[in-house]
């Protein structure tokens, strides 16, 4: 199994390689260090969330609330930092408080979703559709319909979290890589990853195999919430603001990336590295369209749609052939 080249596994990789070749042919700046850094950094938000989403979908769940949740957490993080600025002053301490607030809010939000789904036994689709609306409204309300902006003195302190880095690699890329590698190890090697797949495959059998189904499901939502917090920590320093237009449709991008990567939407099988490829495919499409002339910007959505469907067809056909 391992030795034989599984062409189904190669599907998303082939799509990614094809995109990179197309991009390089169309524009000489495509493979420049600057552009690669830009694309990878901006992929980090969706990427970090999508890794968490892989576990939720693998265990047979779904979370539509992550985009609104990110917007709400971003708003909260800005309010907390602005509120404590007079006491703590602009500095590392205040950044740490902001980070802590984001992680805590994310965990709590994930717990609320998980509690309603596992303990109250409400469909994940309905619960997260509800919380999606709640968080979106809350951030609009917090911002009074406008935009929440981080105090100017604080921005220069926090900016390096998005724009800085070590050895020329920016922090969002490093964090995204760490989250992805950890996710891959947990999915492949840890009991939790196998339990998530078992629950998503058949929760009755999993229950008889003494897997604590509710606990596994709950944890997938809590981890996803935590990762939304992490993504927000990367997001806020970029523009220092949050509004009701923050994180719109992130949930669908994350879900699309997960499915492009080969995770099954009905659960039972997940592939974290595939998700990473899926995220990169989605970012590259946007990037290539911006770098290219001759395609009407009105058609960007159509081209994205075609490539997403092609990437998935590629997998299915290989599967039938092998």
């Amino acid at each position: 199994m391992m030795a034989k080249l599984d062409l189904r596994v190669l599907g998303p990789i082939l799509a990614l390689v094809a995109l990179i070749v197309v991009g390089a042919l169309l524009n000489s700046n495509f493979l420049s260090a600057g552009n690669v850094t830009n694309v990878l950094s901006r992929s980090a938000f969706i990427g970090i969330i999508a890794v968490g989403m892989t576990f939720v979908i693998t265990s047979g769940g779904l979370d539509l609330s992550v985009g609104s949740m990110a917007a709400f957490i971003a708003g909260l993080m800005i309010l907390v930092m602005n509120g404590l600025l007079p006491t703590l002053g602009p500095g590392v301490a205040l950044v740490l408080v902001g980070i802590l607030a984001a992680l805590l809010a994310g965990t709590v939000a994930g717990f609320v979703n998980g509690f309603l789904i596992t303990t109250m036994r409400i469909e994940a689709f309905i619960v997260t559709l509800g919380t999606m609306g709640i968080y979106r409204s809350l951030v609009t309300w917090l911002a009074d319909g406008g935009t929440l902006s981080l105090d100017f003195g604080m921005r220069t302190v926090i900016r390096p979290i998005y724009f800085g880095g070590i050895l020329g690699i920016s922090w969002p890329i490093i964090v995204f890589a760490l989250v992805a590698i950890t996710g891959e190890i947990v999915m492949r090697r840890a009991a939790f990853g196998r339990h998530a797949a078992a629950v998503g495959s058949n929760d009755q059998v999993a229950r008889y195999s003494s897997v604590n189904v509710d606990r596994v499901r709950m944890l997938t939502y809590v981890f996803l919430g935590l990762l939304v917090g992490v993504a927000t920590i990367m997001y806020v320093p970029r523009l220092g603001s949050a509004s009701s237009s923050t994180g719109v449709l992130w949930e669908l991008e994350a879900i699309a990336a997960v499915i492009i990567g080969g995770t099954m939407l009905k659960g039972g099988f997940g592939r974290v590295w595939g998700t990473v490829i899926g995220v990169l495919i989605l970012s590259l499409i946007d990037n290539i369209l911006n770098l290219t002339d001759g395609v009407s910007p009105y058609l960007n959505g159509a081209i994205q749609g075609v490539i997403i469907i092609l990437a998935v067809i590629l997998q299915r056909e290989r599967k039938a052939g092998s």
Binding site: N27, N29, G34, S243, S245, D286
Partner: protein, 312 residues
């Protein structure tokens, strides 16, 4: 269902008696989905609060809709259950809103349309219009005056709509023959994040640029962040638009990257509500078209357009 119908019927028959004392003005606007709409919501709410005190005989119903079909429902509900004497509507989109607004006009109520016109002429009694071709033209004329030798620019567009098309056409007409060349145009959707991403890619693609027409202040913020992160100093300035308070402040303070702005005031909703209230309570004529022009803001006049309390 039967009860609901009965209740609606009762409400509909009971209200006219009440309406002799108080007239109800319905206000239907899009929800605060981006900065400008947020400012518009703020001014609508403020105008309603203020006018309710000024005119005790008027009652206001304010509804915000996140998409055109929700707005249609809002307007149908206002007509069916609140017996409105006047409707102030900022249509989400022209086509889908035309027939529901026409139904309100046919019922005999006063109709004020704001910003976006309806697909069919002659429905509204009062049209408070923003000047989108003018917005583009004023922006283009500023570009020409700021780059007298011509130059290379990129432009960011809003959400694909008639508004955006009219602005871009006005802009293109104004710069024609000036030697200013638009190298690239993409949709930044009046969104900071989207425009940041688009601008990063424009910067990778074009090694030499003279200026950016961001066409909106939210997009200008994204553009400025991308330029700053890339450390590019070839770009002389970024022209936004719509008059966000932070950007107006920077223009007033003499920031060379933001030397000007072009207004498209979200407070035009307040003008519309106020004029409708005047029309309902007095004999002063307010029917017709009232166009709110787009004005060029520079350092000299910036403080006249600075509203620190507004969210936008």
């Amino acid at each position: 269902m039967k009860h609901l119908a009965l209740a609606t019927l009762m409400a509909a028959t009971a209200l006219p008696a009440l309406a002799q004392d108080t007239k109800v003005i319905g206000v239907s606007i899009p929800a605060a989905t981006h900065g400008w709409a947020g400012g518009m919501n703020f001014h609508a709410q403020e105008a309603v609060d203020r006018l309710e005190e000024v005119y005790p005989e008027l009652d206001f119903v304010l509804a915000t809709a996140s998409d055109p079909s929700k707005q249609v429902n809002d307007i149908e509900d206002m007509l069916a259950t609140r017996n409105i004497s006047a409707l102030v509507v900022l249509p989400f989109e022209s086509e889908p809103l035309t027939s529901p607004v026409k139904a309100v006009a046919d019922s005999g109520a006063w109709v004020t349309v704001v910003d976006r016109g309806l697909a069919q002429e002659g429905i509204e009694d009062l049209y408070v219009a923003g000047d989108n071709p003018g917005f583009g033209r004023v922006s283009g004329e500023y570009m020409v005056s700021a780059l007298p030798e011509g130059g290379k620019i990129v432009a960011l567009r809003g959400i694909p709509t008639t508004i955006d098309n009219e602005r871009v056409e006005g802009f293109q007409a104004a710069i024609e023959g000036s030697g200013i060349e638009i190298l690239d145009m993409e949709h930044g959707n009046w969104n900071r994040d989207d425009s940041f991403t688009v601008m990063q890619d424009f910067l990778s693609k074009h090694p030499e640029l003279d200026a950016v027409w961001a066409s909106d202040d939210d997009m200008a913020i994204g553009v400025l962040a991308a330029i700053e992160a890339a450390g590019r100093d070839d770009i002389q300035f970024v022209l936004g638009g719509a008059g966000m308070k932070e950007m107006i402040k920077r223009t007033a303070d003499g920031d060379t990257m933001i030397p000007a702005n072009v207004t498209y005031p979200p407070s035009m909703i307040a003008t519309a509500i106020e004029m409708t209230a005047v029309g309902l309570t007095s004999t002063a004529p307010v029917a017709g078209t009232f166009t709110i022009g787009s004005v060029l803001v520079t350092q000299d006049n910036a403080m006249e357009f600075y509203y620190p309390d507004s969210p936008f």
